[in-house]
């Protein structure tokens, strides 16, 4: 399959994403320490966008790439209101002063989205984390795919890869992403993690790694 042709006619909405506090929790139960991811996951972004723009049938495909961020640590002691006690303090890692690029596949549904909106992303939303200001920059036609290292985490699903512009997976670095099912449960799907070597739209690649 000439996957480059599948991108013909496709376009992405290009947004600027800013957040003061963002906690993209790694799915590791690290006892009292909760580390934070420094890449966006496709499932996390799409989940947040679906929550913001709910639609039962229309698929959303989105990827993001950090421009700048600071890694910070918060010590937090959750309170058990029933027992009137605080449990062992947690150390939570988070990102502050975040600026990122967000790309959403353009279609007749996403084209109706406003120029600016608030997106709630990641963990600790009830504590004020995860509020992202999203501002539209414009529309971009995906440039020619090039080889490089992936800057996002994407499900290893042909439909998703085609939608976001990955035309060839040359050397995968696999991991798993959580995918919710109906009814509050979910399962894990195989995913291409950051640093996988792929042929893809440059918007998905680490800038310094392009070859």
């Amino acid at each position: 399959m000439d996957k480059t042709t599948t991108l013909n006619g496709k376009a992405f909405l290009h947004y600027k994403l800013e957040s003061d506090l963002l906690c993209l929790g790694e799915r590791i139960r690290g006892s009292i320490f909760r580390p934070c991811l420094d890449v966006f996951t496709y499932t996390g972004l799409v989940g947040a966008l679906k929550a913001r723009f709910p639609h039962p049938y229309r698929p959303i495909h989105a990827v993001g790439r950090f421009v700048s961020k600071k890694r910070q640590m918060l010590t937090f002691s959750p309170r058990d209101r029933a027992c009137e006690t605080s449990v062992v303090p947690l150390q939570i890692e988070y990102l502050s002063d975040v600026e990122a690029e967000l790309y959403v596949e353009l279609n007749d549904f996403t084209s109706t989205w406003p120029e600016q909106f608030i997106l709630r992303l990641g963990a600790m939303k009830s504590k004020g984390f995860g509020e992202c200001r999203v501002t539209k920059i414009g529309e971009v036609k995906p440039p020619e795919p090039t080889c490089g290292r992936l800057a996002v985490r994407l499900p290893d699903d042909q439909k998703v890869l085609e939608a976001v512009g990955v035309s060839e997976v040359k050397a995968p670095r696999y991991g798993y992403l959580f995918e919710p099912d109906h009814g509050g449960t979910g399962h894990y799907v195989r995913a291409l993690f950051e640093d996988s070597y792929v042929k893809a739209c440059p918007i998905l690649l680490k800038g310094d790694e392009e070859e």
Binding site: R27, I32, F33, D156, P172, Y176
Partner: protein, 678 residues
Amino acid sequence: MEEMSGEQPQPDASFHDIGKIVNWEAVGLRKKKPVGKLEKDPHEFEKCISHDDWSSSEWHIDPSATPWQSILTWHKLWKDRWSGSMHRWHAKPADWLASGYGRGEQSEDVKEYGEQIRKSLPYKPGRYCLWTGIQSEDKRLSTERELRELIAHLNSSPSWEETEERYHDELATRAEEAAGGFNVTSVLAHCRIVGKLARVLAKAEWKGAAPEANPKKKSITALNPQPKLLAFHFRLSFLQRPFRARDLGIFQNMQSRLQAIAEKFSDNVLTIAGFEGVAVFESYESKGSFIKALENEGFVVCGQSVNRCLNEYLPSEAASRSIMVVLDEPWYPVSLIEWPERIELPICESCQMAQATKHWPKDHLAEMDGWSNVTLGILKSQAWRDIDVSQVPEADREELASWLEEYGEEDLCENCYRLRKETPPVKLLRDWDKDVLYIRFALDIERLAGHSHRRTSKRDSCLEYLHKQYLRESGNWIPQSMLDNLFVTFPIVADFVNDYKAFLHAVQRELENQFADRTAILSEELCCLGLENRNELFDVIETVSGAFSKAFPKLLELPTEVDNPISIALSLSKKKHPFFDHWRFLEQPPHDVAVLVVGSGEARFRLADYEKIKKALEVAKPSQLHKLAAAAEISESLGKLVLYEQDNRGIVLSEFSKLVPDVLEFESARVLANQMEG
């Protein structure tokens, strides 16, 4: 002529240069030609055996002994005691691949400049070590008795390991190439590598190679199909992400696993330092089984690969850098395991690559002997957090309570569960009170031996620079084109790695002596110390610096534009700080020395500058350091005001000010001042 029989032990090409440890001139078997020049060094024992019938009445060589099959193969005279053996076809290219200087593009230079260059390269059989600057003494066997003992030893068909043990000093101090300026590789490393390469090549396809022929580059190039040779430079990490100090035994465990794989693939693995190494394979299948073995043991593999035909590595071709060309390739993740497309809940909390089917420590305890049936029933039926020790028979209560206190429940996959079971918990850290300091060393083979022309930075790699420097300093006349074409051969890398391992061992022993039971050795390259005071950080750097300057003094003289291939990363925090955070910093340590003080910042400096930094810290008054650290906490500008504060006579108070920013960035100075202040 006797042919090699099927029952004969396999010859070992490692022996091919053993004759180089003999001083043939001193023994009286290398004489001067009538024109005054010395004869060719007869290190293939050609003066000790008849060229006609292979008899050796004077020296008693028993050519039926295995080592002689790799020695009595006189390529130039073209005589082979085993003319029907294919061993020559494997050993000869292996020798070419593991050599370098005087071959390839450099040999073209030697030919072009002929006598002019030959005259400028004096005969120097002792090895010159590029990173210590030590010229080895000539320790070759120089008496007839010693030569006879060597021949008797070889007649006994010893293994190469036995020979290394007996003649280690002679092999390690003799240069493979005796031309002064190029005497930088030991015969020991050269022979080891040739032995490995020949054994790998013996497994390749040699269709069309005539056993009775004398293999030359042309005849090898003419083979169709070509024997394959796949070079692989790999770096390993592992999926498990240890959080708790007690789980840090995983490093030792994974190192043992890697060691076991390296032993299983001992011919293929040319060198390993920590979790990085170089290997060669004769086929994709062989390389695949190595990668699968690594993955099956839980390693994540990233590598640079070159998959070529043998003739493409040989010096007559443009790629004359032999297997070192692997360092020019891009890095890729490498995985041959078929990972499932979907995993049902729960996922393994340790590796997150498989479904968790085990519960730690409950399942582990249930597998242990000695529990009463009641306790066993509770362990098998109840969730860990629901277990109430009061329901447990008294005999088991204390033991179970200690487990309950120590561990929360973790869902693990079979692999991580097995790993956890066989990894004894690291207990030392539990007994320490205050701060912990993790120290990680890492050797980057690319920075050590990559080729400047291929490197993106175009800078000389460490060994390239040191070798050029040696050639310049030795006063030899070397044409510029030869310096430009200079490359590092693999045996030098192997020599360096051996010294690097000895350095790691030495520094860990010194830290153990210094910190006694406050030392935990976690792996060859990683250890942890319990600090009673934060300024002990400087004692540690002092110890490391001392061991480094003994092992690699020339690396401390590298100019700033040449990277130190050895990184030293130190990460300091309160004892309770999660190891995960330390490991993010330590896993890929930056160049030279990097110190992370959790909650304070990061300092980076060149180890070569440490003496200057130490001096500045020692002469600084504690009050000055305190003032600097406190001011810098408020703002960098205020910190800089304090840094450059002058007394009434206009003298800058802080010695640190002389170092910023040339030797230290302000941020690094601040972090170090903060720690010195304690």
